[in-house]
Each structure stands twice: as C-alpha cells, then as structure tokens.
Symmetry: C2
Subunit: 350 residues, 2 copies
C-alpha cells in the first residue's frame, strides 16, 4: 500500500492539467494524440491513487525510450493469432500501455461471447501500473487480470544470480456500492525505487527487502541496490513471479528474465510481454449477487478491528480509492524532483 | 518447499500398498471404488512428493467428515451452468477431490475447443493438495490453475479479526524433458500444521509466521495457535488470498471466509468452493517452443549459483519431483502418528 510522505517542497497539481501537459510531451515525441492521451492518463491515474512510483515521475524515462532506436511512438498492436477465447497480440514495439489497452478491449469483447478470454502479448514494452487495465474490466462487470514481465532483479530462492523479474500481477473485481477490489502487486517485498529513496536519505532499509550481491540478507541500501530484491514469502514469491513471468512471455514469444535485458542497460525495445484476461461475472453467477457479496467483504474488512500500531484495515485498492477521491478534489502532491523532470523534458523537446 | 525431518520412528511404506489400504478405508466408509481410489491417490501423491501435511495423515479426519451429517460419500458433481468457455459445477457435497477432478476434466475438454476455459465449483468440501488437479492439465500440454477457499485463519492487513482464509493457489505448466513447473502455495507464511509441530516440541516458531490473538507478531507457538497466521508479503499476501478466495467462492455461490465455518468447529459440509482453469498452450504458441523455453528456465535456475547457507536452487516443483522419484523407488517414510491414525481408522471401521 502506498504511503509516500508529503514534503514541504511538494506542490499540488490538478490531475486534468497534469494529464494535458504530459500528453503534449508525448505528442511532441511523435505519438498520436490518442496514444499520447492514454499514456498520460495511465501515469496521472497512478499519481492520483498515490502510486507515484508509476506516475509522471516516469515521463523523462519514457521520452528517452521513444526514440528511433527505441520504442515506436506510432506502433500499432494487432491480433496475430485468434482461436476461440484466446488471442495473441503483437504490440508492434508500441508502449506497453498502448498494447495493454488494445488487448484488454479485445479480451473483454471476446469474454462477452465466451465468458472468459485471455491474450498473450509480445513485441511490447514497459506498460506502467497494471491496475489501470484490470480496472477496465471491473467497470464492465468483469474480473480483469493482467500480468507483465519485468527486468531481472531477483534470484531463485536460495540463489544469488539475478535472473528473475518481480513480474507483477493485477486483479480487479467489480463491487456494487463499494470501490472495486483491486490488487496490483509485484512479487518482491519492495522495489528498487523505494530502496533508492532510503539510499538518498542514507537510512537503513527494513529487514526482508533485499539481499546483497552474494545473496545474504542486508539492510544496507547501497548493498541492496548492488544486490537482489527479496521475494515475498521466500520460495512462494519466487514461484509466483516465475508463473506470472511465464504467462507474460512464453505464451507469446516475448522475452523472459535475462532475455529481456538488465537493470543497467534497460530492456530490449519491443521484447517485453504481457498476459491479459477477463472473466465475465454473469457467465458464472448473477452480477448483482456477486457485487453484493464483494461489498459485504469490503465492509467486513473495513469494520474489522485494527491490530496495535494500525488505525484501520483496508480492502485491496480501498486506500488508493480514498487517495484518488482526495487528490481529485485537492490536487496531486508532486515532489520537486518529479516537477523538475517535467520542466527539463519540456525544455529539451522545444 | 517441504523439508520434513526423517525420524528414527518413521517407517517406509510402498506407495501402491498405501494407496490400496487407504482406498479400502474410504470404500468401507461408503464411497464408490473410483472415488475412493481417487481420494486415496491424491493423498498418497502428496506423501510421495514429501507434502505430508496433505497426505494420508488426513485419512482419520476425512473419514470423520464422511458421515450422514457430513460430506456425501456418494456425491456426484454436475454442471449446473454452461456458457461458452465457462462452466459452473455443483459438487453435490462430494469430497473436493472428486469435484476438482470432475471439473478439471471438463475444463480441459472445453479448452480443447476454446483455448482457455474456467469453472467455479460450489457445494464442495476440502479438496486436499491442489497441485494434483493442476498437474492433470500439464500432462495434456495445458497450463492448469486451481484455487480453493479455506477456513478463516488470517486477519486483513493491520487487523486482528480472523476473517480470511489462506486460500491456496496451484499452477502447473508443462515442460519438455524437465519436470513440469508446479507451484502450490497458500498465501500465509506458514500453516497451522507446521506451527503445531513446533508446539509439540515446545520450540519457538520463526519470526514472520504468526500473530497473537491481539494481532501482534509472536514467536510463541501456543500464542500463534490461539492467534493468526501471517500472510506472505504483508498486504500483498492478504490481497492475493482475497482474490483467490473470491474466485473460489463468489463466482459459484460457495461460502467465503467466515461463512465457511471456523477452525474449531470445522467447515460447513458442502459449503466450500474452488476455481479451476485450463489454458491450452497450442492456442497461444507452438507447444514444442513453449516446452523448450520452460526447460531452459528450469535448467537456468538449477545451474544458478547458490547463496550462502544453501546447496542449490530448485525450480517450482522440482524438489517435490525429486522426492517423488526417491520415494517411489524406496518407499515413503511415514511417521508413527500417521501410521497409528491409519491403524485406528481400520479398527473403527471393522
């Protein structure tokens, strides 16, 4: 669950303004207006939910990717295989967001006929926060499931070779009066981004977050950045990451783990893959009954007593939903570094 | 990964003999020969892979369930809804193993036509180790995914009310020359069974396994048994358990969490639910290409260097596969308590 501190140097930015500004940057980099608008919307949607690690902080990096040697700003995903309730998509080296939106739309349409449908995507790139695409399904009374490949930052359990990604998974489930249940999580205990923040502050990282380069647990942020992310639940998290990664890459011919690249040189453009699935609730049970029960669970969690040191419990995605309500009303607090990144990008693109 | 110590009092038992003996017990309890054989096979298959927590240790408990007030030994699962690539199954209060085998068979057949197919099961009961049903799919060049509901033993993250199950998930993926990739894991760091073993030995449990009844982390096994299981990865494991549980119960009308019962009184007979899915690899990519890549990953993991304190790395399911090879050749080491349970059950059933 996100919980970034709000610093005195943070500035409040209106989501609509931010979206427009970022969209303009991507358009100037050669993207069509719709794709630029989508990419901007996915980033701002992450910021608005408090998930700043996947917000407009990424703009400078994305602009760097969108060059003639890199990601194709005009890439057009297309279905290359279609059988029954399954499609395979070639993303044409577009940004992963463009590929994921295209693919989730097709998978949802197919699930309208078949109840469940799935797609594997190849020729793709970084796709940002996954919840955005899973939530598309929840808005149509479907369960959305999206997984992606990631650059290798973990070792197999008991190992020290950086050969596995943290390959995140997002699931969104429609509720009735309550916010949808939305899980969006990588299978590591933490992330490089969070460890970098501790490193900048010269603070030790919590136990359980990282191993050093030799595979030993460490709380030293510098050694952690040089080393490995720890999985959640030891071999369980590793296994989940492997499964998520195989679905996201080997069902379409996308790159897996070390085939994708490394954290120093970044990913091979167009080598990434995703897995996208939608289940139409009405194919299983009455939609109203399902939503009533999800509502009941969300309320049961919300009203359940807190443990010492906690204020209350949240259903998956509830804290982000509350953050979104607040930030949409009051503006998104963005830190100085993120704003400087946007300013610099703007100047470079003139 | 399992790693039960082999005690001097353990006795080696031949898998075929054990299967026959356990099958006989279930037949005498009123099950038909096929269902009794399946139930015995699932339990022995767990023991043979070293997963004794889900092996024949469960026989006395299962026999107790199979009474006139409990699980129906003659329950016949049937499809109650069928649309496109989705079916809903009513298990008719049969053992969950009978329901899961029935359902996976149907889902695999459907996936032969549609590429992917899924089912939600209601009216079910405890289904044992999930890998058994996921592996059915892998043997037919499909990816098998199975999830189940479980009795509530966890709290929401930051809470102390026992309202969530550890709702395990199994995924099996076909390989070529290597053993299939098989993940079978609950979303708790440990299990009640393991904590009970520490309690019997009056030993402290590892950190990260449990909370006491007030929701505070504890290493005291007695307090842990009175308290809560800890999820893997804090809120991530809780979220995964919630998602797995919703798929397993709310898509079919089965009970979720506290609706299912509690650990003291056990589950409501016929209230349990499962989620079963199969993806035909050939609907996505060439099967041989997929298997070649899975083989490559298994070998990359196996040959990757070990961290201090570890001997080597294993792909998911590889250690269990090696255990199976050993136990099939040499016999399964069963402890005195498990054997006594079988002896007692035999005497009671005469």
């Amino acid at each position: 669950m996100p919980g970034y501190p709000i610093a005195a140097s943070d500035r409040l930015v209106q989501p609509a303004q931010l979206q427009q500004r970022v969209r303009g940057l991507f358009e100037r980099r050669g993207m069509g207006p719709d794709d630029a608008g989508l990419l901007a919307d996915t980033l701002v949607s992450a910021d608005v939910r408090g998930i700043h690690s996947h917000g407009v902080l990424r703009v400078p990096d994305y602009l760097k990717k969108l060059t003639s040697q890199g990601v194709n700003p005009r890439g057009r995903p297309r279905v290359v295989k279609d059988s029954g309730a399954v499609v395979v998509v070639d993303a044409d080296n577009a940004m992963g967001q463009v590929a994921c939106q295209f693919t989730m739309r097709r998978v949802m349409d197919r699930a309208d006929q078949t109840g469940i449908a799935a797609a594997a995507v190849r020729g793709s790139n970084h796709c940002g926060a996954l919840f955005y695409f899973a939530e598309m399904a929840a808005r149509e009374d479907k369960i959305g499931i999206v997984a992606t490949n990631a650059l290798p930052t973990m070792a197999p359990w008991g190992g020290r070779a950086k050969i596995l990604g943290i390959n995140p998974l997002a699931v969104a489930m429609p509720a009735g009066e309550e916010p949808p249940v939305i899980l969006d999580a990588a299978f590591s205990a933490s992330s490089h981004g969070k460890i970098r923040v501790f490193h900048q502050k010269a603070a030790p990282i919590p136990e359980g977050w990282a191993f050093d380069a030799a595979g030993r647990p460490t709380t030293d942020a510098a050694q952690a950045l040089d080393g490995l992310l720890q999985p959640i639940g030891e071999y369980k998290g590793v296994g989940l990451a492997i499964v998520s990664g195989i679905l996201s890459s080997m069902l379409s011919g996308a790159a897996f783990g070390t085939e994708l690249g490394n954290m120093v040189d970044g990913p091979e453009p167009g080598a990434d893959g995703q897995f996208v699935m939608a289940l139409r609730v009405a194919a299983f049970v009455e939609v109203e009954e399902f939503k009533r029960r999800v509502d009941g669970l969300v309320r049961q969690i919300r009203t359940s007593p807190a443990a010492p040191g906690f204020e209350r419990c949240y259903a998956p995605g509830e804290l982000e939903y509350l953050t979104e309500r607040k930030y949409r009303a009051e503006g998104i607090p963005l830190n100085a570094e993120t704003l400087r990144g946007l300013d610099l990008a703007e100047r470079e693109l003139v």
